[in-house]
Amino acid sequence: MDTSRRQFLGKAAAVTAGAAVVPLAEVEASLNSQPARRDGDGNKRYGMAIDLRRCIGCQACTVSCSIENQPPIGQFRTVVHQYEVKDNQSQDTAAVMLPRLCNQCDNPPCVPVCPVQATWQRKDGIVVVDGDQCVGCGYCVQACPYDARFINHDTQVADKCNFCVHRLESGLLPACVESCVGGARIIGDLNDPDSEINEVLRDNHDDIKVLKPELGTRPHVFYIGMTDAFIERIQGESGLWFDSEHGGVMGAMS
């Protein structure tokens, strides 16, 4: 490689690296604004696509996540919500499955509220919690519009899905993705144009939705095949709930 070319590449890399750093450096620490991202690979941006047409509601993801991450009985980092949807004219009914997890938002409202910097967004977009730093004030649980966070009964600190970041860093898939029997969950690097997730999102670009987009959180869990009725708060009949202290967080409506 000749000198000029090496210099050019060096400068190009510096410019690119600068471009990645600039938006972060611009983040000002004014009240309730996003702090700078830290840790993780800034060249990546993880996201998940969930193809609802492929989800059968088997809860294999729920179970494998619980085994992998060991939340207490009755508390979940991911769970498949199940709904009965009836067409009022034809009276036809159908089951709708909606896997729910942390949306790893680009503008996560849970992060700036944390009073002790125990939760932050990594440069690869994953929002993580340091359980040793968390004081368990529950502020982030309130701030999350997706109910993705909870106070773990065992550790008494905030807990949430982190895309199984420990597995991703070892080159493994998150437990929920690994165990999904229908292949409904696809995780990948959105910055890599050749990644499977980008391929899936491109193939279904007319049918991609996120939850509560009007809040400006910019979720990075993308649903494919979701009816508009599920974008916002469910307008319908509520289920029955049981006390999660006794392991019965799931309810059924007869």
């Binding site: 309730n32 002790v116 106070i151 799931m250 309810g251």
Partner: protein
């Protein structure tokens, strides 16, 4: 299309009744401190005569509030993380800085005010140490009074703002929340002062009348704040008002809550106006105290606890059953018990105390 939830998890309440206790007591402490400080800067007698009652409320609630705050953390032993990792972009972190400023100002100001009272009127034997030294401490007292004002306003702003900025809970997401939390806190403080003036420290009928007027003013401001929230909400379709209208339309519980709030507010208003008409009424103004304090506490319960039972995504309302242990009833009773204990000790210290049966009899006669 109709949707029925078949399997959905219930979201637990992340903020426990401890939060209600903290917001209740810290609001009382901040507003009572502001009333106490008026006497430092506005001379002329009547504000000075309100100081003992204001201090009884401010000091007692100022002791209780941080205990409740600490207990609301699921990891109370890690509270020092607030100070080892100061987080300038978080309202709650800002609050962790404001609260000590307020408390140091308040307790410091009270200590020097009390010293002046003891030096002027004589201290009980066991508190003689308080009056030691020849320095007047006036400049320090003024400085601490100023610190109290900044801290108290800071507390009133940050407690409202840290809740208000949570966009995920539409009902909270209104600036009026700051106004209404502060106005109801003033209502609670003046109500507690009415009780203190009648039952705990010396309060002349004139002082009680002033406190009752302040109570009435706080009630009117609270009403105006509620009306302001509703009218501006209607005009600008604020998310908070729209959400409240939805809840009112869908759930009997919220209809009862709304109806009860309006009725209690009106009843307190009529009661205060009625009692202000005659000296005998003023002397019985303290009857309003328990009802007003309960109303102020209930407002915080509705704002902090009931709102958490509104699902962010799901349909219906989450059921909430008050646990009997420290996460629930025991915690609530424990904090009220602590307040009661402090209130039993404090009037024995605070100047202007009515601790002998002779003066009690005289006051009973005066109050009719």
């Amino acid at each position: 299309m109709s949707i029925t939830e078949v399997i959905v998890p219930q979201q637990e309440l992340a903020w426990l009744p401890w939060a209600v206790q903290y917001f209740f007591f810290v609001g009382l402490a901040a507003t009572a401190a502001l009333i106490a400080v008026i006497g430092e800067f506005v001379r002329g007698g009547r504000w000075q005569r309100l100081q003992p009652a204001a201090f009884v409320v401010a000091i007692s609630t100022g002791i209780v509030a941080p205990v409740a705050l600490l207990a609301d953390l699921h990891q109370p032993g890690r509270f020092y993380h607030f100070y080892t990792d100061i987080t300038v972009w978080s309202w709650m972190s800002l609050g962790a800085l404001i609260l000590p400023v307020f408390l140091i100002g308040l307790f410091g100001y009270y200590a020097l005010w009390q010293r002046d009272q003891f030096r002027a009127n004589g201290a009980p034997h066991w508190l003689r140490l308080w009056t030691r030294g020849d320095w007047s401490g006036a400049w320090l007292r003024r400085g601490l009074a100023g610190m109290t004002v900044i801290g108290a306003i800071g507390v009133l702003v940050y407690t409202g703002a840290e809740v208000m900025i949570v966009e995920a809970r539409a009902l909270w997401h209104t600036e009026w929340l700051i106004v209404n939390l502060a106005a109801t806190a003033l209502m609670g403080t003046t109500a507690a002062m009415l009780y203190a003036q009648s039952r705990l420290v010396d309060g002349s009928p004139g002082d009680q009348r002033l406190t009752l007027r302040l109570f009435l003013a706080a009630l009117i401001v609270t009403g105006a704040g509620a009306a302001g929230w509703a009218v501006s909400g209607m005009l600008f379709q604020s998310v908070s008002f729209v959400e409240f209208s939805r809840l009112l339309g869908e759930f009997a519980y919220w209809q009862i809550l709304f109806g009860a709030s309006v009725l209690v507010g009106l009843a307190l208003l009529v009661g205060a106006v009625w009692m202000l008409r005659t000296p005998r009424g003023v002397a019985h103004g303290w009857w309003l105290a328990p009802f007003a304090l309960l109303a102020v506490w209930s407002f915080r319960w509705a704002v902090l606890m009931d709102v958490q039972t509104v699902p962010k995504y799901g349909a219906g309302l989450y059921p909430y059953e008050l646990p009997l242990g420290s996460d629930g009833l025991l915690g609530i009773l424990g904090i009220f018990g602590l307040w009661l204990a402090v209130m039993m000790v404090l009037p024995g210290v605070i100047a202007g105390v009515r601790n002998d049966t002779e003066s009690m009899k005289i006051n009973e006669v005066a109050h009719g």
